[in-house]
């Protein structure tokens, strides 16, 4: 029989070990990414990030089209998911009767449980085909289809986090607004949303992280062509993203190209980690704001 105090300490250090282990794993991934990316950066320098020509045989590795593609689809996805997501969150948290909310919220969260390959499939076959027929495109691939699908994929996280943020605005504040003769809509617009803005932004940024990092769905829809859309804002054109590039090329990659792909991975890692950190900070701000007062 182990003494109680010793047992307590053993359990404590065991959990510390588990926590430390996961941090260590992240650390090693980070180091490994940089280690593998470094040869490519040394070899090609800034050309990697500024050149638009990608030709494996001639050893031309310009990542710019993929970088631009990632940014482009992410902006487009946010244009779809932010208005829809915040609108849905306002409805869920402020307007929907309890019964409706109890059905709707799990359904929206279920969207997050659909495997991304299914989204990609639906996006390519149904949405891609529809857009292609409607706008007379050459194939079923386009940035637009990728933006719409990514937008839908980012929805659950935005809805869920924005809903939580608005729900956490104290009832007292909403009551105060109503008691001053504000309508329900005025209260939502002038009190609830501004008070919850940190939490809502945090959700949007998490959704953005999701859109940047998404691979399978984008790979099936965006076309996988290493070129900039022409003109640069043409969402009907095809292109590539960093994630799709890695996924497609990795299988037959050898030599320096592996290092190039790791460079793409480093960029993704940094951006997604940054979104997650910013999101965390914003969330903490919402919490501080309301816990500071008596």
């Amino acid at each position: 029989m182990i003494p109680r105090r010793l047992k307590e300490r053993l359990i404590k250090s065991m959990f510390f070990g588990i926590a430390a282990f996961s941090i260590l794993i992240i650390f090693f991934i980070f180091v490994f990414l940089f280690y593998e990316a470094y040869p490519a950066i040394r070899e090609f320098g800034s050309e990697l990030f500024t050149s638009t020509s990608w030709n494996v045989r001639r050893e031309e590795f310009g990542l710019l089209p993929a970088i631009y593609g990632s940014v482009f689809v992410t902006i487009g996805a946010l244009l779809v998911s932010v208005p829809l997501g915040i609108g849905a969150a306002v409805y869920l948290s402020e307007i929907a009767p309890n019964k409706v909310r109890m059905v709707l919220k799990p359904v929206i969260e279920l969207l997050a449980g659909i495997p991304s390959i299914v989204y990609g499939f639906v996006g390519a076959v149904i949405l891609g085909r529809y857009l292609s027929n409607t706008f007379n495109l050459r194939g079923i691939h386009s940035f637009l289809a990728a933006m719409i699908i990514l937008g839908i994929m980012a929805l659950p996280i935005i809805v869920s986090m924005a809903d939580d943020a608005m729900k956490s605005v104290p009832r007292d504040l909403k009551d105060a607004s109503l008691a001053l003769g504000a309508t329900r809509w005025q209260t939502i617009r002038r009190v609830t949303i501004p008070s919850a803005i940190s939490g809502i932004s945090s959700g949007v940024i998490m959704g953005m992280g999701r859109a940047i990092g998404e691979t399978m769905a984008v790979m099936l829809i965006v076309g996988g062509v290493m070129k900039l859309p022409v003109p640069f804002y043409n969402a009907f054109d095809t292109g590539n993203t960093l994630t799709a590039l890695i996924a497609v090329q990795m299988g037959e990659a050898h030599g320096i190209i592996i290092n190039v792909l790791f460079t793409a991975g480093v960029m993704l890692f940094v951006v997604v980690a940054a979104t997650s950190i910013i999101s965390d900070i914003l969330q903490k701000r919402t919490k501080d704001r309301f816990e500071g007062k008596t």
């Binding site: 007292d172 504040l173 909403k174 105060a176 001053l180 309508t183 002038r190």
Partner: protein, 270 residues
């Protein structure tokens, strides 16, 4: 066709009216309220006199806050609440189906138990009510007048653009009072406005309530009998959703008619 629509619209505007005696600001008539199947108010009758301070006292759960929240229809925000009976404000039935809740709440201000300033600047807090009601008033003037009326002006005049949450609890509560005054209400409802404050801040609020009487009709819910005795002109005693006794404050505290009232104010229960 158009004439008919106009007629309907006109009819809609009509709201039940009746004449009240001149000195009565609000009248509660046979008012019942249920939360689901729980009856929280039982056939309450109460007259609230103009420019007087009416206190509502009673043990926890007696329905005093519910009654207060009924006076500006704040109970409408609770889905399970259902009412019967009427509450009149200067001859208008505020529970008439055609009455605009939003309008009612502008005319009847409310101060809550916990100070609840918005997380905006001090001046925007005060001006909020005017803004949402599209009132055509000067912002600077209104903010100054209301903060002066709420005895807060001296302390905050140099930092009107600071976040209201940086104020102390007592200051926040006076800010909430200032905010409620900005829409120029006739009646001011206060739900235990000093219960979250220390004795000094409480004294300030009580002085303030006494000053407010000149221009407003005040209804205050309190669980402190001393406070009711100190600030109010009339006192209503409630127990288990019923209004047991209502009279001048002196009368209630010195010579209550009902046994239950006497027991409560002498501290034998509650």
């Amino acid at each position: 066709m158009l004439a008919k629509i106009k007629e309907v619209l006109k009819e809609d505007k009509k709201c039940e009216r009746k004449e009240l005696p001149k000195d009565i600001k609000m009248r509660v008539e046979d008012f019942d309220l249920w939360y689901d199947k729980n009856q929280a108010l039982k056939s309450v009758n109460l007259d609230i006199l103009k420019n007087e301070i009416t206190a509502i006292i009673g043990p926890s759960g007696c329905g005093k806050s519910t009654l207060l929240r009924s006076l500006n229809r704040m109970n409408d925000t609770i889905p399970s609440a259902r009412t019967e009976g009427e509450i009149w404000l200067e001859g208008y039935n505020i529970y008439d189906g055609n009455t605009d809740c939003v309008d009612i709440r502008r005319k009847i201000g409310m101060v809550f138990q916990k100070p609840n300033p918005f997380p905006f600047s001090i001046e925007n807090n005060v001006f909020y009510g005017c803004e949402v009601n599209d009132m055509d008033v000067d912002k600077e003037e209104t903010v100054e007048r209301c903060l002066k009326d709420a005895a807060l002006w001296e302390e905050v005049q140099d930092r009107l653009d600071e976040n209201a949450l940086s104020l102390s609890g007592g200051q926040q509560q006076r800010l909430c009072i200032a905010r409620a005054l900005a829409t120029e209400p006739d009646v001011l409802l206060m739900d235990e406005p000093a219960s979250a404050l220390d004795p000094i801040a409480t004294a300030k609020i009580e002085d303030l309530i006494d000053d407010l009487k000149k221009n407003y009709t005040v209804v205050i819910v309190t669980h402190s009998m001393q406070q009711a005795a100190r600030v109010s002109d009339y006192t209503a005693y409630m127990y288990l959703g019923e209004l047991i006794e209502f009279d001048e404050t002196e009368q209630i505290f010195e010579n209550p008619e009902k046994e239950s009232t006497e027991k409560y104010i002498t501290g034998r229960f509650g």
